[in-house]
Symmetry: C2
Subunit: 128 residues, 2 copies
């Protein structure tokens, strides 16, 4: 493994959380996981690649939906256990619910309230 990959503090499962932030708006779009292969491929290809814990394999964001992420910058935090990606979100939809961002619920009046519209029906996105 290259030095820059060994500098990352992978957890017991060999993963680190990765935050995708919209390069233009600064919005936090999603949080997913990366293993070293995902991070290596992200750096090499310039597109966000995550590790799907449910499917236990590399997840090339947009492989099904077409909504891939062009990576402008990769950052590492002080503890070396979180990655930050500055991305251009193709299609303007990062969330599997068809919303721009996965963070569409705001805490208000004692509960989480959905404050963001569905931009596209997930059935349509995923060819259902």
């Amino acid at each position: 493994m290259s030095d820059w990959l060994t500098a990352v503090k992978w957890n017991e499962q060999g993963l680190v959380p990765a935050i995708a932030q919209d390069y233009n708006s600064g919005r936090i779009l999603m949080v997913a996981w990366m293993n070293h292969d995902a991070l290596q491929e992200t750096a090499d290809s310039g597109r966000a690649v995550y590790f799907s814990r449910s499917r236990q394999r590399l997840w090339r964001k947009g492989e099904e939906s077409g909504n891939y992420q062009v990576v402008h910058e990769l950052r590492l935090d002080c503890d070396a256990d979180v990655i930050q990606l500055q991305v251009e979100q193709r299609g303007g939809i990062a969330c599997h619910t068809g919303r721009e961002s996965c963070f569409y619920r705001v805490f208000k009046d004692g509960d989480w309230q959905t404050v963001e519209p569905i931009l596209k029906d997930p059935a349509e996105i995923y060819g259902g």
Copy 2:
């Protein structure tokens, strides 16, 4: 536990990651962990409270440094396992290294490069 707290998918340790984003600039400042007491107190007090895994206790951000975080908004992601906080970072320093943000290393030319200045000596911040 209140409904809004049970809606959160706490991990095996009873924790979720929490991302603090600067309310004004949109910069991602840090990622820490919260348990339900931390999230409850954050909502009640309007200041960011995390759970320190190393000290195994509530960590009222700024309790030592004075650099507390005024919380403007709390969000939950689609999987209900990540919290996002919009904060006003008092003192302009979120990182224990004395930098504005914990994400001060950028991947460039095959390695992580430090691109942000230390704004204040940590020894001074923590009264060393």
